[in-house]
Each structure stands twice: as structure tokens, then as C-alpha cells.
């Protein structure tokens, strides 16, 4: 180490410049890929959102026309509503179900670990596979898996995905099913950090189970819940594959969400300007949400 300090001037300078270049050589591949395939498309998306994109004819600057067109389109307004219903339903339902699962499956026993492994399967399964699974489970006649279950209770078959009134809820249910075990893992990690002596002390004071959950467990896992909520909300806003595979946006557009609409605009209708505007709007909402939640998290919890 001291050798470096005592080396004569010119050689030392060369060492320093070599040292300065080295990290950038290691960073280059990652930065290049991120630049070309992430940030360039993002910039291009923002750029294109101000143009009427016409292949072979050249793009024409239209200012905010694409944005006003997208925002005033009543189909797009419907789509925002669906996205909110789906996103909020998936997030809250997924958290509630994940919390209940975590409370049920908390513990060190080997059997519990095996059950946790099995319950976690929906998370590792590719979304497209889950979509195909659920399409068959939702089979509309009385012999579909879920409908035959309903039949046991004497309830008639429900055409889950073929009815505009039920399709969005059926999609939300699938979303909850996919999210709940993921949330369970994060909440379980939060539960593992709860101070056991608090439970003991509470038991000595003769506190009821509900009070114990309310005053010890919930405050302790609040940071974990905050994270789970942020992740779920962002995921809910940009939901695409789930809907695209399960319903394709139908029937009658009843499950069309923000991203499936942007996809249709861009790839089927060739309205690249409009699709870009819709995507940029979604990006802004996502960023706004992230920043807001982070702000409240920093203010609320010290962690």
C-alpha cells in the first residue's frame, strides 16, 4: 500500500488513471444494455407520444393531441376504472389473504414448512400458465372445476369469464390467488421479527387474542405491510399478462385494463402515438405512487 504513495509522479498518475477507468469497464456491459433496452425505449416512448407516427410517411408533431385524445376517449376512461378496481381489489385482497395465510402457517414445525412450500406454488408459476389453469377452472358449464364445487352446494353454474358483470371480479380473484402467497412470505418475515416476550407479557396481563393482534402483531409488521402494499399497488396498475391471457380484455371490454388497451392501440390499431401517450401516463402515475408511498413510509416508520 505504502509503495503506491512513494512511487514517482508520472507512474503514479498512470496508476490513478487506470484505476479510474477500471470500474467503468466493469460497468460498461450493464450500462450499455440498460441504456439501449430500457432508457432509450423510455425516452423514445415519451418522444413518440407527441407525434402522429406514420410508417414510411414520416412522423408528424402533434403536441399534446395524443394525450387529449386518449384522456377524452370514453373507452380509455372505462379502462382506468377497470384498472383501479382490479388493482385495488388485487392489492387489498392479496394482502388480507396473505396476512391470514401468514397467521395460519407461522411456526417452525416441519409440516408447516411443507405446507408453506405448496401454498407458495402460484408465485413461481409463470403468469401465462396460471391464466390457462384458471380458464379451465372457470369453465362455464356445471362440470367446470369451480362450478362443480358450487354444484355441491346446489348453486347453479356461473359463466365467470363470459359475463361482463362477473369477468372483472373473476380476474381479480385470480390476481389475489397469485399475490397472496407472495405477500405471505414477506409478512411471515415481519412476524418472525416480533418480540416473543411481548406475547408472554400480554398473556400475563390477560389480554384477549384480538387485542394481542391489534396492539402487538399489527404494529410490529406495519413496515412489512407498507412494502407489500406498495409492491401490490404498482403491480396492480401495470397488470397485463394476467388479463391478456385470461380474458384478452373481453367480454365486451369489461376487463380491458390500462396496459391491454395500450397494447391494442399500439400493436393492433397501429396508433403508436396514442399507445405511447397512454404508457407515459401510466408511468407517471406509477412514479407518483412510488414517491408518495415512500414519502409516507419515511415519515411514518423509522426503519
Amino acid at each position: 500500500m505504502t509503495a503506491t504513495v512513494t512511487t514517482p509522479g508520472p507512474r503514479r498518475a498512470r496508476v490513478i488513471s487506470k484505476k479510474a477507468v477500471l470500474p467503468w469497464l466493469f460497468l460498461a456491459p450493464g450500462l450499455l444494455l440498460a441504456l439501449v433496452f430500457k432508457f432509450l425505449p423510455m425516452g423514445k416512448g415519451v418522444w413518440l407520444s407527441f407525434f402522429d407516427v406514420r410508417p414510411f410517411l414520416g412522423d408528424r408533431w402533434v403536441g399534446f393531441d395524443n394525450y387529449t385524445r386518449v384522456l377524452t376517449d370514453h373507452r380509455f376512461q372505462d379502462v382506468v376504472g377497470h384498472t383501479l378496481v382490479l388493482g385495488i381489489g388485487m392489492s387489498l385482497g392479496g394482502i388480507a389473504a396473505g396476512f391470514l395465510l401468514a397467521l395460519l402457517l407461522e411456526g417452525q414445525a416441519r409440516s408447516l414448512k411443507i405446507i408453506r412450500t405448496a401454498v407458495f406454488l402460484p408465485v413461481v408459476t409463470a403468469t401465462a400458465v396460471v391464466g390457462e389453469m384458471w380458464r379451465l377452472m372457470y369453465y362455464p358449464t356445471s362440470d367446470g372445476l369451480i362450478n362443480s364445487g358450487l354444484g355441491l352446494f346446489g348453486l347453479g353454474p356461473v359463466p365467470y369469464l363470459d359475463n361482463p358483470d362477473t369477468a372483472l371480479w373473476a380476474t381479480t380473484a385470480m390476481g389475489i390467488w397469485m399475490l397472496a402467497p407472495y405477500n405471505m412470505v414477506i409478512i411471515l418475515a415481519g412476524l418472525a421479527g416480533v418480540d416473543r416476550s411481548l406475547y408472554e407479557a400480554a398473556a400475563m396481563d390477560g389480554v384477549s387474542l384480538w387485542q394481542r393482534l391489534r396492539h402487538i402483531t399489527l404494529p410490529a409488521i406495519r413496515p412489512a405491510l407498507g412494502i407489500v402494499l406498495t409492491l401490490a399497488a404498482i403491480r396492480g396498475l401495470r397488470v397485463f399478462t394476467e388479463v391478456y391471457v385470461l380474458t384478452g380484455g373481453g367480454p365486451a371490454g369489461s376487463t380491458d385494463v390500462w396496459m391491454t388497451r395500450a397494447y391494442t392501440l399500439g400493436f393492433s390499431r397501429n396508433d403508436i402515438g396514442g399507445a405511447s401517450a397512454a404508457s407515459v401516463l401510466l408511468l407517471c402515475v406509477t412514479l407518483l405512487l412510488t414517491v408518495t408511498v415512500n414519502y409516507f413510509r419515511k415519515r411514518g416508520d423509522v426503519r
Partner: protein, 314 residues
């Protein structure tokens, strides 16, 4: 962003305090181990828990059994979905094979293998620079990599498809090649983050000792740092694999025609084919499911650790 360094092996996972409190646990009554105070001894509460666990398994795991049994059933439609196959047969897989499912599966394997390899190499190199070197603009670079994680594929899908059709400067058309899927997956903020945090914890003495022995940068990374990073590489590898296998939109927009699809995307081709029944779709689903299942069952600890680590960083 500068939360306490993550050691993926020791991050609080479900079973974290086990080692530390294993001795203490036996002396403490079991009812304080869980938030609900479940008891291990048979009784009404125990029976309730068993019942609820069965319900949870029924809801979250049983559908997978019906998929497997349906794929081996002679005639699977909505009606015959059950836990045991009717007249077990491999016919569905044979028909799915005739529809080219193994070609799609091959595409998937090439993309998952190549994508994961590229991702690990690229992210390891970046993490090494970020963790073991000091340079100007370090915080900015780290933020850039984090942004790649926050920038959803969905949002950049349309311009990305234009970029894939004509890569700027070099002017290559990546559509219809596996590179169109593999290259965009190369820089993944999550892997960079996990590896950087892990590498930061490696004691400087090890590196200094090697440097005195005249070890160069690449050998340092390959022979000194990487062997110590195996747990973090495991986490990044498992999550990377699951993430790549789950890709839907990217293979869809990077494909020139349906023969370029991955197996997960190709399921929709099977489904819309009027000549095949749902048994064949289920066979395709099983083929698409098995690799991630194997990876999960072999490396589930790394996966769960990674999810918890990723979440606390979110």
C-alpha cells in the same frame, strides 16, 4: 436505499431465529411462538388449524394437481378435471408435441439459459465495480440500475419493439432472434443490488492479500470474490430464472412469427387451436410448469430469501 447491508443467507426469513433460539424455544411454552398462539397438542384449536391448512392447500396447491391429472387424462375437458387421471395416457403430450410444443420449449430453454447467463455475468461485473471500487458518480450509477427495476416492461413495450426492430447505431434487427429477448433482460437492478450488497460485506483484507500476491482485476473477481458470493449468486440466479421464465410480453413483441414464441406464450396457440382439447393445453401447461417447479423445489430457500431481501429494499 442505504439500509443495513443485506446478507442473503442471514436475512430474516420465516425460520430465521431458529438457530439462535432453538435452545430457548424448548423452554418457552409453544403458545408464544406464533401470533395466534397455536398449540402443537391435539385439541380443538389444533383441529381447527389442521382444517384451515387443508383449506389453504385445497385453494392454492390442489389446482396444480388437477392440471397434472388432466394432462395425463384420456379425455380432459372442464368436466373431467379431478385429482386422479381418467384412463392415464400420454396422448395429450404426443398431440402437443405434434403441434410443436417441444420447439417452443426449446426456445424457452435457450432464452432462459442464455438470458440468465448474460444477466448473471453483466450484473456480477457491475456489482463488482459498485461494491469494491470507489469512483465518481457511484450513487448515480446505482440509482440508474435501481430504475431498471422500477421501469416496468409493459410501459416501454411499444418503443422497445421499435428498438428491437432496428437497434440504433448498429442497425441490427433483433426481431425473430433469441437475442431480442435475451439482451433486454441483461441488466436487472435486482441482481445488481443483491450482489452489490453481498460483495460489500467481503472483508477488505482478503482482497488486499490477493492484491499483494499480484492478482489482477478479473482474476480477483473470478477466483477471490465470486467463490465467496455463492449464496448471493444463488438468490440472483433463482429469482432471475423465475423472472425470465415468466416473461410474456417481451417474447411476444420480440417474435417475428409464432415459431419464435416461448412455451408460455405458445400456450395461447394451443388453446385457440380448435382441433385440440383442453387436455393438450394442460399438457402444454405442465411442460411450461415443470422447469420452474424443479428450480423452486431445489432452491426454494434462496428464492424466499431473495423475495424478502428484495422487499425490504423496495
Amino acid at each position: 436505499m442505504s439500509a443495513p447491508a443485506i446478507d442473503p443467507v442471514r436475512t430474516p426469513v420465516t425460520a430465521t431465529p431458529a438457530r439462535k433460539s432453538a435452545g430457548k424455544q424448548r423452554t418457552t411454552p409453544a403458545r408464544f411462538d406464533t401470533a395466534l398462539g397455536w398449540s402443537d397438542r391435539p385439541g380443538p384449536a389444533w383441529a381447527l388449524r389442521v382444517l384451515l391448512c387443508a383449506l389453504a392447500l385445497g385453494v392454492f396447491a390442489a389446482p396444480f394437481l388437477t392440471v397434472f391429472s388432466g394432462s395425463f387424462s384420456e379425455k380432459a375437458s372442464g368436466s373431467t378435471l379431478s385429482f386422479l387421471p381418467h384412463h392415464p395416457t400420454l396422448l395429450n403430450f404426443q398431440v402437443a408435441g405434434e403441434r410443436g410444443i417441444w420447439d417452443y420449449f426449446g426456445n424457452s430453454l435457450v432464452i432462459a439459459g442464455g438470458g440468465l447467463l448474460l444477466q448473471l455475468v453483466v450484473c456480477t461485473l457491475a456489482a463488482y465495480a459498485l461494491a469494491r471500487h470507489k469512483f465518481r458518480g457511484q450513487a448515480l450509477i446505482l440509482t440508474l440500475f435501481m430504475l431498471t427495476m422500477m421501469l416496468p416492461e409493459e410501459v416501454i413495450a411499444i418503443p422497445l419493439s421499435l428498438v428491437l426492430g432496428h437497434v440504433p447505431v448498429v442497425g441490427l434487427d433483433l426481431k425473430g432472434t433469441v437475442w431480442g429477448v435475451i439482451l433486454p433482460l441483461g441488466a436487472w437492478g435486482f441482481s445488481v443490488m443483491v450482489l452489490t450488497e453481498f460483495m460489500k460485506d467481503i472483508p477488505a483484507e482478503i482482497e488486499e492479500a490477493a492484491r499483494i500476491d499480484g492478482v489482477g482485476e478479473l482474476r480477483m473477481l473470478w477466483q477471490v470474490i465470486l467463490p465467496l458470493c455463492k449464496p448471493a449468486l444463488g438468490v440472483a440466479g433463482v429469482l432471475g430464472f423465475i423472472m425470465i421464465w415468466d416473461q410474456y410480453l417481451l417474447p411476444l413483441i420480440a417474435a417475428k412469427d409464432p415459431t419464435d414464441y416461448t412455451v408460455t406464450v405458445a400456450l395461447s396457440i394451443l388453446r385457440t387451436d380448435p382441433e385440440v382439447g383442453s387436455g393438450v393445453v394442460l399438457a402444454g401447461a405442465v411442460i411450461a410448469l415443470v422447469p420452474s417447479l424443479i428450480v423452486y423445489l431445489l432452491l426454494q430457500r434462496s428464492l424466499v430469501t431473495g423475495i424478502t431481501a428484495g422487499a425490504t429494499k423496495g
